[in-house]
């Protein structure tokens, strides 16, 4: 018997429930499209895996990334201050050898 699958309304494309629901619906109807739907599910899972592998910046946890971001911001600020300090010192005009 067909089991009632709770319909999950998701705006993003990352949900697999609609496809699983389609597969179960086809199984209930004994439709020949079952295999097609199953292939779609497999393909979507594979595509998700490839997308995850290619996504930048997810090699660390969000907390660690935030720390690194903070460190970088501080570095930029410190170096800007250092440069400003050096530039405010008296500059030497180095004569070019003629």
């Amino acid at each position: 018997m067909a089991t009632t699958v709770p319909v999950v309304e998701e705006a993003e494309d990352y949900s697999f429930l609609p496809i699983i629901h389609d597969v179960i619906k086809c199984m209930d109807k004994d439709s020949p499209d079952v295999h097609q739907e199953l292939n779609k599910l497999k393909t979507k899972i594979q595509e998700a895996r490839e997308q995850i592998s290619g996504m930048p910046g997810i090699d660390m946890s969000p907390a660690l990334q935030e720390n690194k971001l903070q460190t970088l911001r501080e570095q930029v600020q410190t170096k800007n201050q250092l440069l400003q300090k050096y530039k405010s010192l008296c500059m030497f005009d180095i004569p070019k050898p003629s």
């Binding site: 599910l41 895996r49 946890s61 570095q75």
Partner: protein
């Protein structure tokens, strides 16, 4: 100590694997129960609930991953800025190093110059005295022949043999035997009591000194007094000098 937190990528892949396994199990269970016409146990409900939960987690993780992607872009921008600042600082450091080198060289050279100035100041000699000595040296015609000197002139810029013999050194043996008050000739000279006959005569000086090359009032400023002018000895010298064995190249 807490274990290192898993990265978002690891969590996403793990959740995706769970979804794959759970969906496969669910589909297999449903297919099996349909084919065997068996009543469904509560297991498929549990699997379904787990599947829904995993799917929700997966979506949340994907949202986090998208946000991390945006942060990663900002971090890349900041890293480029840090690199630029680093190269600016290195450039500035190079320039400062060059300036330091130039300044160090200049300071060293200035110090050396100051040392030379101080050294020259300590050993300074009055120009007047140098000029007097120059006059004295040139007045003896030791550096240049007199203007009226011709080949055959007996005058020489050095004492000749006979003149040496007639001088104090030449008569030193006579003086030691005679013994002026029992003292050595050197004492007599030092005491200023050398007899006139023993005073060395330098004929080539006699005429030039009298021409007034030396300023008259400076003529006696030096320790060495010019020998007394004795015109009588000139003829003797003239006769004697021709027989001298001087090696002067002027005597042709």
């Amino acid at each position: 100590m807490a274990a290192a937190e898993k990265s978002t990528k690891e969590k996403l892949l793990s959740t995706l694997d769970d979804i794959e396994v759970l969906s496969r199990e669910l589909i297999e269970m449903l297919a099996l129960s349909r084919s065997q016409k068996l009543p469904q146990s509560g297991e498929d409900t549990q699997i379904l609930e787990l599947l829904v939960q995993r799917d929700k987690e997966f979506q949340e993780l994907m949202q986090t991953a998208m946000e991390q992607g945006r942060v990663h872009q900002e971090m890349q921008t900041l890293e480029k800025e840090v690199e630029k600042r680093d190269s600016d600082i290195q450039q500035l450091q190079k320039q400062l190093k060059e300036a330091e080198h130039i300044l160090a060289t200049a300071v060293y050279q200035a110090k050396e110059k100051l040392k030379s100035i101080e050294k020259a100041r300590k050993g300074s000699i009055s120009s007047e005295e140098i000029i007097k000595y120059a006059h004295r040296i040139s007045a003896s015609n030791a550096v240049c022949a007199p203007l009226n000197w011709v080949p055959g002139d007996p005058r020489r810029p050095y004492p000749t043999d006979l003149e040496m013999r007639s001088g104090m050194l030449g008569n030193i043996s006579n003086m030691s035997t005679n013994g002026v008050n029992g003292h050595l000739p050197g004492d007599a000279l030092a005491a200023g009591r050398l007899p006139d006959v023993l005073t060395p005569q330098y004929p080539w000086q006699s005429t030039d000194v009298s021409m007034g090359i030396l300023p008259p009032h400076h003529g006696n400023d030096f320790g060495l007094e010019p020998p007394g002018h004795n015109k009588e000895n000139e003829d003797d010298v003239e006769a004697m000098s021709t027989d001298s064995s001087s090696s002067s190249s002027d005597s042709d």
